[in-house]
């Protein structure tokens, strides 16, 4: 039983999601129009199974029979079938229809395809410049028919290309934006997506912008839009205002897509830069690592024992981010040209000389006791602070500590002679200044009484920090 074309096409449309792999196959094989028979049959079976599951077994069988190759061949939906090679070729409009359903799987117009469209419009311009521009001339009519097809093709192709590139950009952009950097599979997918975006940008977006820009200079011919406008000018001069208007509207309709392409360019630029940055990062790390490896290999003569890369080797000297970093041993601190003994002697000599002068002039010298006392108190407080600080160098936060005040109080009370709560406040300041430790105050009051003093406070609980390493 032969099924008619409309019904076949209806089935292809109803189960179109099962036929997009055919478009994929064509795109993956550089635009081949030959579809493997095996692939087509597999997709028909998939469509039939889907119909059987969704509707009924009978419907599944009906789909399977409708989409049989002999039906499509009879209705000229398949233009060629090569049993020996196991391939078939669909009528162009069927492929276009399938493409239309899933633009995201297509490639945009390539530079070669755009150049072909431009060349065609330039050929039309050349022809109209040489022909008598009247409907009485048959060559003119033929050329006009060809021009209309060319403008229509250009518009339709640009429109499909914009939709395709937009859909692809969205899909690839989502892969990049929602990646989990810590997952190896995501990293591979992202790298591939960025490579693909870069390819779209270089091979489709930039050529399309060049194609649509009337200012672009070409080695041969003029931009496509300009060619259509020139032909419109010829029509106007020849007294054919309808054609003039028709062509100008067609040129405008094509030109309008420059905005969409430019918007795509802007949205993809971020990913293109990211791709470039990643390539550059890879090259830079590779290059620095190779310097280090070469320096290692230069040392190598069967054993690396006690052989280290010299510090002046470029592999170590570059890039100099940490040049000179080291532990500075404080006991060996170099005071350079400062001689403290000489300073002290100079000061005391001068001060004694001043006091002698004062005594000689006034007969007696009064030393300000309050001032002296203040210095001594200050000095004592500083000494005390240093004592507390020194003690805290060896202090570790007790495990499961729930009250920092109490923990420090216990620690200091046991180790510090003449301990008071002032020492506790001092110690708290030191501990709180350590940035790697964080604390959270609890909403309650505790009171610490010691000696004559009493301290009311909110207890501080240390926060868990990732300071402890998993290898410790």
């Amino acid at each position: 039983m032969i099924v008619k074309a409309p019904y076949i096409l209806k089935q292809l449309i109803d189960y179109r999601q099962h036929f997009t792999p055919l478009v994929d196959h064509m795109e993956q094989h550089h635009g081949t129009t030959e579809i493997p028979l095996r692939l087509y049959r597999r997709q028909v079976r998939a469509a039939a199974d889907a119909a059987a599951q969704a509707v009924s077994k009978r419907e599944g069988e009906r789909v399977f029979q409708t989409l049989a190759e002999n039906n499509l061949e009879h209705e000229r939906l398949i233009v060629r079938k090569e049993q020996a090679r196991g391939t078939l070729m669909f009528a162009p409009f069927v492929l276009e229809m399938l493409r239309h359903f899933d633009v995201s799987r297509l490639q945009g117009l390539s530079q070669t395809e755009l150049e072909d469209l431009r060349r065609g419009l330039n050929q039309s311009l050349d022809a109209f410049e040489q022909l008598p521009l009247t409907f009485d001339d048959e060559d003119f009519c033929d050329e006009l028919r060809l021009l209309r097809r060319r403008t229509q093709d250009t518009l339709a192709n640009i429109q499909a290309s914009v939709a395709t590139l937009g859909a692809q950009s969205d899909r690839l952009g989502r892969i990049v934006d929602y990646q989990d950097i810590a997952r190896l599979e995501d990293a591979a997918q992202t790298r591939e997506a960025l490579r693909h975006i870069n390819r779209i940008y270089q091979r489709h977006i930039l050529p399309a912008l060049k194609f649509l820009d009337p200012q672009t200079a070409f080695k041969q011919g003029i931009p496509a839009i300009t060619a259509i406008y020139r032909i419109a000018d010829l029509m106007r001069d020849a007294g054919l205002p309808e054609l003039d208007e028709e062509l100008r509207l067609a040129a405008n309709a094509i030109h309008v897509y420059i905005k969409d392409i430019d918007a795509l360019r802007r949205s993809l630029e971020r990913y293109v830069r990211q791709n470039q940055r990643q390539r550059q990062q890879y090259d830079s790390v590779e290059s620095a690592f190779n310097r280090l490896r070469e320096a290692t290999e230069a040392l190598h003569d069967g054993s690396l024992r006690d052989k280290y890369i010299p510090l002046n080797d470029p592999a170590i000297r570059r890039p100099g981010t940490f040049a000179g970093i080291k532990r500075l041993r404080l006991p060996g601190l170099d005071w350079r040209d400062i001689d403290h003994r000489a300073d002290l002697e100079e000061f005391t000599d001068r001060r004694i000389a001043e006091l002698r002068d004062a005594r000689d002039q006034q007969g007696s010298v009064t030393v300000d006791p309050a001032h002296t006392g203040l210095n001594e108190a200050d000095l004592a407080r500083q000494r005390r602070q240093q004592e507390v600080q020194a003690l805290l160098q060896g202090w570790q936060l007790p495990h499961g500590c729930g009250d920092l005040h109490q923990a420090l109080h216990d620690f200091l009370q046991a180790r510090l002679a003449d301990y008071t709560l002032y020492d506790l406040l001092d110690a708290l300041d030191w501990v709180m200044a350590r940035p790697e430790l964080g604390y959270r105050a609890r909403f309650c009051h505790h009171v610490l009484a010691y000696g004559e003093l009493e301290l009311a406070y909110h207890p501080l609980t240390p926060l868990p920090t990732p300071k402890e390493t998993p290898h410790a």
Binding site: D180, I181, A182, L184, A187, A188, T190, R191, Q278, Q280, Q281, Y282, S284, V285, E286, A288, F289, L292, R293, T296, L299, L304, K307, Y308, I309, L311, A315, I316, R318, P319, T321, F322, A323, G324, I325, K326, R327, L328, R329, L330, G332, L333, D334, W335, R336, I338, Q389, D429, W430, A433, R434, P435, E436, G438, T465, P466, T469, P470, H471, A472
Partner: protein, 201 residues
């Protein structure tokens, strides 16, 4: 109140927080860097030690450290100190600290890329190099030879802890993954810029 003091002879003199200043001094002279950000509650926050040094860098700290024979060096995102006398020949081991630091950083950077990850793995706080990945990178013979030539005789995870974590060049995030701190990132940024400058247009 007694933490801060103004230089008495100048109303616009430096205002130095003594405790932050002393903590910064302790860390810097211990061979650590002070990053612009530190980790608190598992999240990166502004580092008070960096802010303190940055705030009074020119008016106080550069001179103060110079008086002690040290140079306070500021790089993008971190501070460290080095001796004003240059390489100390009396202490060749500590002056060679740069060798294991760079060795581990480069082995780590290359290892992560070679394993198929993006470089951002090392700089993203939520990601980081897992202990298993460090083990995997460190098991490579070439990497082991390079580490040995950089005076590192330990497995990579341990070497990373000593050369990077202990010096605050890297930290462990809440998942226990190693992430580059500001200083570690600055090292790679310098490498990227150096390479870019060398690449002909």
């Amino acid at each position: 109140m007694h933490d801060d003091y103004d230089t008495p002879d100048s109303p616009q003199g430096p205002v130095v927080n003594r405790r932050l200043s002393q903590e910064a001094f302790r860390q810097l002279t211990a061979g650590s860097v002070i990053n612009q950000h530190c980790i608190r509650d598992g999240e990166p926050v502004a580092n008070p030690l960096f802010q303190e040094l940055y705030k009074e860098r020119d008016r106080y700290y550069v001179g103060a450290y110079a008086n002690m024979g040290m140079e306070l060096v500021q790089r993008p995102g971190f501070f460290y100190v080095r001796s004003l006398a240059g390489d100390d020949s009396e202490d060749p081991i500590s002056s060679a600290a740069i060798r294991p630091i760079q060795g581990v950083l480069l082995v780590l950077g290359r290892g992560v890329l070679e394993a198929g990850y993006m470089f951002d793995l090392l700089t993203t706080h939520e990601a980081g190099a897992s202990p298993a990945l460090l083990e995997q990178i460190g098991s490579n013979t070439t990497m082991q030879q390079i580490l040995a030539a950089c005076h590192i005789d330990r497995p990579l995870p341990e070497a990373a802890k000593i050369a990077l974590f202990d010096r605050h060049i890297a930290y462990y995030n809440a998942r226990g993954h190693l992430v580059l701190a500001d200083a570690g990132q600055a090292f790679f940024n310098d490498i990227f810029q150096e390479e870019q400058a060398e690449t002909p247009e």
